[in-house]
């Protein structure tokens, strides 16, 4: 697009200012986390005699954040693995096979993208008790299954646009050679749809990692993930912004690293969700 020099200057100037403003909240959390509490009281943007330290992180880690982070990884990796594996299998059937009640199942599946999770939240607690999923490490199994059930709609919805992109001619050629659907799924569709599967896995990772409500409701103290730890640490009556900010940065970090490393996949996945709507 052709634009005058003045327009371009205004454009870049405006966007730069807005971008910087957009980064202020993250900067606030970061600067608060690497400075002692009494310095922060003067404002984190005040750099007179500033000291930078990782002490807040060490103390937060020692106060139990370590186990919250470990729980987060167990829950998230388990959920993503199960959702991606079962979701990819199911998507193959939804895209390349016909079966009874296919439309009904698909409709029910994508309602998970619309309804609030509160729809299933309340009976889950007694249901876990009935199934014995409220005991010890079984709680991990329980919450992983809920994340899989509630993520099923997104999985089939997003993966189907990538599975559809596998050329029909290739599948036909495979069938002529006598390949079973299982072979075709494994040897043809999976490798070709891999970028799409990675995109979905990243989005699902971020979604599960960031969940507060399910974990807060279903898990006992020593099995809770970092988001719950953070929500509990945060209290208007306690002046511990140093610990809370360190916790917040730790909670942000894994998705952020994943996002920066695989930015393209993440955006592509959301593109697929956004444009196909």
């Amino acid at each position: 697009m052709r634009q005058s020099r003045l327009t371009l200057t205004l454009l870049y100037g405006g966007l730069t200012v807005f971008s910087l403003l957009w980064l202020v909240p993250v900067m606030t959390a970061f600067m608060t986390s690497i400075r002692p509490l009494d310095e922060i009281r003067g404002g984190w943007w005040n750099f007179d005699n500033a000291t930078f330290t990782f002490d807040n992180y060490v103390r937060a880690w020692d106060q139990g954040l370590a186990s919250f982070v470990a729980n987060s990884f167990i829950i998230t990796l388990g959920s993503v693995a199960l959702t991606v594996a079962t979701g990819a299998l199911a998507t193959y059937a939804f895209v390349h096979l016909s079966f009874r009640f296919k439309r009904l199942w698909f409709f029910l599946l994508i309602t998970t993208m619309i309804v609030p999770i509160q729809l299933i939240l309340i009976p889950l607690l007694p249901w876990f008790r009935t199934l014995g999923l409220d005991q010890g490490a079984w709680q991990f199994v329980g919450i992983v299954l809920v994340h899989t059930g509630f993520g099923a709609g997104w999985a089939v919805f997003m993966l189907s646009s990538f599975f559809r992109a596998v050329p029909k001619e290739m599948l036909e050629a495979g069938q002529i050679d006598g390949a079973s659907h299982w072979d075709q799924f494994r040897r043809l569709v999976l490798p070709l749809a891999l970028p799409g599967i990675v995109s979905f896995a990243i989005i699902d990772f971020i979604f599960v990692w960031n969940d507060l409500l399910l974990a807060l409701t279903l898990l006992q103290r020593e099995f809770q993930p970092i988001q719950v730890g953070l929500a509990n640490l945060q209290s208007p009556h306690l002046a511990q912004q140093d610990l809370v900010s360190a916790g917040a940065i730790l909670a942000i970090l894994p998705p952020l690293v994943l996002f920066s490393a695989l930015n393209r996949y993440y955006v592509r996945g959301l593109f697929a969700g956004g444009t196909k709507g």
Binding site: M1, R2, L8, L11, Y12, G14, L15, W22, P25, T28, A29, T32, R41, G43, W44, T86, L89, A90, A93, F94, L97, S98, F99, R103, F106, I110, T111, I114, P116, Q118, L119, I122, P123, L124, L125, L145, T148, G149, F150, A152, A155, E172, Q175, I206, L212, L213, Q227, L230, P236, Q241, S245, A248, A251, I252, L256, Y266, L270, G274, T275, G277
Partner: protein, 335 residues
Amino acid sequence: MERRDRAHVMSGRALERPDRESRLAYAFVFPLLLAFVFFYLWPAFNTLAGSLFRWGLLNPWSIAQPADWDFVGLQNYVDTLTSARFWNAAINTGIWLVIFPILVTVVSLVLSIRIWQTPRAGATFRTVFILPMTISLAAAGVIWTFMYDPDFGVLTRFVEWAGIDFAIDWGPIRFQTSQWLSDPGIIDLGFSQIRLVNLSLIVAGFWAFTGFGVITFTAGLTAVSSELVEAAQVDGATTRQVIRNVLIPQLKGPMTVVATISVIFALRTFDVVWVITQGGPAQDSEVLAVLLWKQAFVFLDSPQAGLATAVAIIMSAVLIVGAWPYLRGLTREKT
């Protein structure tokens, strides 16, 4: 069908009978449906059925124990719809439903178009706005609590520094800076009040969610053909005319998507409110999701879980009815 027939002729392999294919397909979908049925459909059904009974989580309603049932019919719905606390939460959720989608859609649309106009560095700007999307809403809540802190929050200090620290009190409108979370003011509509603390929370959600709009609109903008834009410019159209007459009409689809998803986000919102105010001060920022959670999980000794399930059903019904055309369209398109 045609595809399979052709394969059949060419390969001489027996045509797969539909019921055989159906059975095979079920083997593929079975593992996913297992989790889906047991941990989504079944609990959802229990919520629906449980909303017709009086119960609390200490003594939960169970389909297997008819002896313990305390059937109340639609009483939970009647009680909910006539309770002042429900309507308080409904109004707060209503504020979210109106303000949040408009804020997200308009700002992300403007940002996306402005970024699209830049010949270079577009990806960098985009990354900045998409970045908060990866941050959990719990962490976003924590971060915005810092921003609004009455002693050392950036916003509070900025207002002081810039000398725009003021309070106004014009009849029904009361507003003051620097008490963002405790008492920013109200707008009195006569029949009800709009508590401005909700706006403080909406800003936090908006900051965290705008990246979704930027991604969606950028996807839409890349689909606009550059020939169309150039042709318009050759014909003497100004930048403003190009945006209004060429770009905006092409972005109708993405606009619907962003608005729809923001509405869903607004109605479901829990994390930000829970972390920043827990619904307070008093119940000034209590939204439906927070009310429901307190009813079910905080007042454990009083049997309010039945009421909470009624709230859950009302919220879900609103969303499913509202999104019905969207859901139908997706199903038709994808299967």
